[in-house]
Symmetry: D3
Subunit: 132 residues, 6 copies
Amino acid sequence: MFSVTVRDHMMIAHSFRGAVFGPAQRLHGATYVVDATFRRTALDADNIVVDIGAAAEQLHAVLAELSYRNLDEEAAFTGVNTSTEALAQVVADRLADEVHAGALGDGARELDGLTVTLHESHVAWASYERSL
Amino acid sequence: MFSVTVRDHMMIAHSFRGAVFGPAQRLHGATYVVDATFRRTALDADNIVVDIGAAAEQLHAVLAELSYRNLDEEAAFTGVNTSTEALAQVVADRLADEVHAGALGDGARELDGLTVTLHESHVAWASYERSL
Amino acid sequence: MFSVTVRDHMMIAHSFRGAVFGPAQRLHGATYVVDATFRRTALDADNIVVDIGAAAEQLHAVLAELSYRNLDEEAAFTGVNTSTEALAQVVADRLADEVHAGALGDGARELDGLTVTLHESHVAWASYERSL
Amino acid sequence: MFSVTVRDHMMIAHSFRGAVFGPAQRLHGATYVVDATFRRTALDADNIVVDIGAAAEQLHAVLAELSYRNLDEEAAFTGVNTSTEALAQVVADRLADEVHAGALGDGARELDGLTVTLHESHVAWASYERSL
Amino acid sequence: MFSVTVRDHMMIAHSFRGAVFGPAQRLHGATYVVDATFRRTALDADNIVVDIGAAAEQLHAVLAELSYRNLDEEAAFTGVNTSTEALAQVVADRLADEVHAGALGDGARELDGLTVTLHESHVAWASYERSL
Amino acid sequence: MFSVTVRDHMMIAHSFRGAVFGPAQRLHGATYVVDATFRRTALDADNIVVDIGAAAEQLHAVLAELSYRNLDEEAAFTGVNTSTEALAQVVADRLADEVHAGALGDGARELDGLTVTLHESHVAWASYERSL
């Protein structure tokens, strides 16, 4: 199995609902350093998993829709706790949509899976892994 | 599949028995930077894998039982080579006991698995992965 | 010259005023991974720069006053752009106050200087350096 | 499942053929920071996955055959795009040959698998995973 | 003293002349992860050292002139050993020219100094520091 | 001003005397990831600060004299608290001796200074800086 990973980041504000979140129930924010990993069984005709430049561009585009925003005010997240793990799924699913739409090229339709990891600090991170 | 990882560290002394260990047969020590990864298929009612604060506290508690000690003199390790990979299992199994005992909350009993990675330097690390 | 550095982090929301900030004029947030470096010419009687445990505790206390907050609503920052470099100074000055008040012990009053670095992502950080 | 990882690096020149590579079609180069991960279900009689010193030596030897070279002029890569993911497979397969030849000791023949990750920068890396 | 640092990277091929370089006398290559640090005594009217977005763009532009090239064939480096430390100076001097030309805004003309660090691997890096 | 840094590590056991050290008064250990930085005003005839290979070898040799040892039993440290900052000075002074003895070549005698940083964990490190 082969994989390629690209890294970018986003900076957002949000708050959580639920006693389990303690002080994070207040409006605060985070930088998420985001790793998107694309997997496939065999390399394509160019001997690659995916065009790494295109993968970086698509990741940047997906993060740009979230970055420099207060997620509490985004319609997509009404009534949703935008935890690190939940946001990892959001980023992964939006990237998967781009893959299926051909944004990473025809060859990328043969990708087997995708993992997105959001690092919220030097001591905590979360991942979501899915098939494609 | 979702996962959440928390990082902490411990500092211990120990020695190894066996020619394969070379100079590490002498009493020496290590800082282990420890990553504990908790996995589950679906998020809980709060939209999280596990209470990240509680996970960090439990990891800290497990490491505190080992840290600032000479493992050669700990009853738990009599006759045992406390290699990085063996210690990864010790930390993982103790965390699993805490999960099963409810220390991470009732929801954490639905966790599927756990991986513990111990970084012994910038050029070497070891992991142990188990189900829950 | 000797130095000791401890690392911690804080997560905040804020926004900026000024065209130079572009989309960061919107309410967003950041995780700051914070390094506090204490400097002195000669080690103390215990052969250290500063009690590293006390230094970590004081840094944590200073960051706790800022973390999980919307800095736009904090009285201390009314009318102030809380840029990464400006927040580095805030953290450094508050740590300096603690040093002068004796929170790091009497020996720490012989510290020569202090540098605080705030990492806002994997590709950008800012520092403020001052004497003590 | 247990694993042990060792890290080393190599510095090479190469170029790519194919429009997808854009400016990387020109002769350029890369530092690859290389992680080799060895996996097995149970630890051996010494309580380890593999002799970490021997693993580091073998990785170094495999990388030394590639490092400080222009891969475009190496017979092994004639007509091959030496992408990061393709080179990860080359390193993994050569390490697997060494394992099978006994270079990591008899015990290492019980290893279950191997993953090699090549970091080409702070924002991109690729992996190849195989059984042993 | 305040500073702001931005990080980017470049990938180049080159070779060295001189017995001291050993196997690096052969054509090979490197990824340089590049940190550019801008310093000034007091913050500007926006409470910043420099427009971090503009700084990142200028660093990217300077690196783009070098990246995906064989430096042995660049006129600017005829007869020059393009060591990591020498390239750090090249990047710093080109950034300084941009600062003086106003590419970072009028306020950036009050910058006091600049340091450029090139990381050639996880175990080696070089810096060049200059005034502005 | 130019600098070159090389990184290596050592693994030691030790204990501290003094109430300020808390649980670290017990025999424990540490991995120190060690960075040695060599500085000079102008590059040498080969366009370098120092032969990076020779610098790495000398650092490795200095660390080998300390590594895989219990520092409490080393004659050189009788009655000495081997704190991270104190060990940074030990490594720096021993490297300085090698520089003065010509182990880094004649050109290295023109080095201006040396800084050694010991990282004891992901959240704490110490440095010692001296002239040459």
